[in-house]
Symmetry: C2
């Protein structure tokens, strides 16, 4: 099914269960996403095992493909989805996977998307190298299929790495300031979403102000996305992620940052966790829940979604724009 007929179908059939909307959008974009899947499979097959094994393990484990979806829909807002956009939809997932592989080494995590991490299965060395391999693939494809998006991708990669470094620093030396948290959020998570939506628009020939709007939509969506993920550490449902995993790994999350501001005594406890003096995080988790900050985080996630939706307002009302709004609203519903 092509994107345009998929969009037509969606318009005809308003999804009755809002929680199922993201899945429905994915199903409706089956053909475009299917093409992206084949590009991904091809990318991870190029090269030398065990680097390709680890890359396949992660890339083909099947994430939600939210970033490729956002890129494709952003392109569709301005016309037909072309081959460069499909290539870049694969690229954004390759870059995301590369950061996950390096994250696994950094976090020393054991599980990702409900499966053992590459680090645990193949060791640090393979995770580092397969991450490097995916990154090089992504850059080569960008240079080849959408060279106009390369400078922006490199600037985005710089933000990704700097966000990671800032996050890492916070783990060594506890820094629970909201300012630091926001920088990490923006650089580590929002940046790649912003690149995806900006690039989708650009490749479809959108005017520069429209590209900026789509980029803003992506950045805000990314922020909402991460805030919901932060919440799940405390109110976790079935996410394939161990509950309190972020807390145990010493990652700053907004619930934690806000709770420390409410109850400064938590900072000392957090420092003990960071220093490896205790494994027990239950007391901190209980305190975070007690302060009621999760409600505040939820409100901020919804506010970020609203900002994302506002950025789309100047864009011509096409079926694709409605689908983008659907993705954003779905996210807000996960938070609510």
């Amino acid at each position: 099914m092509s994107l345009s007929s998929a969009v037509g179908l969606l318009i005809d059939s308003a999804a009755p269960d809002p929680a199922a909307r993201l899945a429905e959008v994915q199903a409706l974009l089956a053909r475009d996403l299917g093409h992206v899947e084949s590009l991904l499979a091809q990318a991870v097959a190029e090269g030398v095992a065990p680097g390709t094994d680890a890359a396949s393990h992660l890339v083909l484990a099947g994430g939600k493909r939210v970033r490729p979806l956002a890129l494709l829909l952003s392109s569709a807002c301005f016309g037909a989805v072309g081959e460069p956009a499909r290539q870049m939809a694969a690229v954004v997932e390759l870059v995301h996977s590369a950061t996950l592989l390096h994250d696994d080494v950094i976090d020393e995590g054991d599980e990702r998307r409900g499966r053992p991490t590459s680090r645990r299965r193949w060791g640090n060395a393979v995770s580092v190298l397969s991450g490097d391999l995916l990154l090089v693939h992504a850059l080569e494809r960008t240079r080849q299929h959408a060279p106009e998006a390369l400078a922006d991708l490199l600037a985005t990669l710089r933000r990704l790495v700097e966000g990671e470094i800032l996050q890492l620093r916070g783990r060594v030396q506890v820094d629970a300031s909201e300012h630091t948290y926001e920088r990490i959020l923006s650089d580590k998570t929002a940046s790649l979403f912003g690149w995806a939506t900006r690039t989708g628009a650009r490749l479809a020939g959108a005017a520069p102000p429209e590209q900026l709007r789509l980029g803003e939509f992506g950045e805000r969506l990314g922020i909402a996305f991460q805030l919901v993920d932060d919440l799940l550490d405390y109110e976790g449902e079935q996410t394939g992620k161990s509950p309190l995993a972020d807390l145990r790994e010493g990652k700053l999350t907004l619930p934690l940052v806000l709770a420390c501001a409410e109850e400064p005594s938590l900072l000392a406890e957090l420092r003990r966790v960071h220093a490896g003096e205790t494994d027990s995080v239950d007391h901190i988790a209980t305190a975070v829940r007690r302060t009621g900050v999760c409600r505040v985080v939820r409100e901020r996630a919804i506010a970020a979604t609203d900002e994302a939706l506002a950025a789309l307002r100047g864009i011509r009302a096409t079926p694709a724009r409605r689908l983008l709004e659907g993705v954003a609203s779905e996210l807000a519903l996960r938070a609510a």
Copy 2:
């Protein structure tokens, strides 16, 4: 001192002690290399600590800058050294440093260039991220100052990573075939030298066949360089590298590959080292030395140097070409 006057000086003063020639070339190119040093210092200062700390620690520890030197001289063979060439001389060192940072995680090494590795000092996470940061810096600079060299750099990065993966695989599952060794040698070491010399020529406006010759020179030089390094594991002088470090880490070196072909019983012992069943490598080292393969490796290093020199033969005899020949001959002398 400019490159041309430096070259003039060198021509006037034939270095009396051949072993000091590389140092003399470095001293004579002081101004160009000084500019490269300031670009490197600037690059590692951009960004967020501790990523920048680890990057500075390594980059400013002062390697021999053989790759930047080779790039500058290759440019000088075809005219004045321009700003793009100086930028790319910094880039080749940034890329080399990025691979060393990731190597430290992969090798779990404790020492590099006579100083504790970043991995040991800051941990795996910082080494991974500072390597990523340097790589992104390098790519951004290339896109900005020498976009025509970017596709070639990405292809080179792919070879670098694939060479690393192949080497890693050989550590898990002992593969002492000469063919595998040669692929690793070519992809992991020779490729970046080849990019450096090819790019130097290209940026100075050399014709494509001349670029190819300079690239061939660099690849052969890189092979000679690595073979000498392999030898030093067994006949190590003062290199800032622990003797038998490669052997202990399970890295394939040519002496080892050739010795295993002579005495197949060594393979079983090597497997025990790889499997972590024994730490003792002295018996293997003694056997390698006894077989006399080091002499063969020395001859191959000299042969690779001769091939490098042969590749330069079609290039106009300029002072810069003589300096390049000097660098190559110096290497052959280290081997001899």
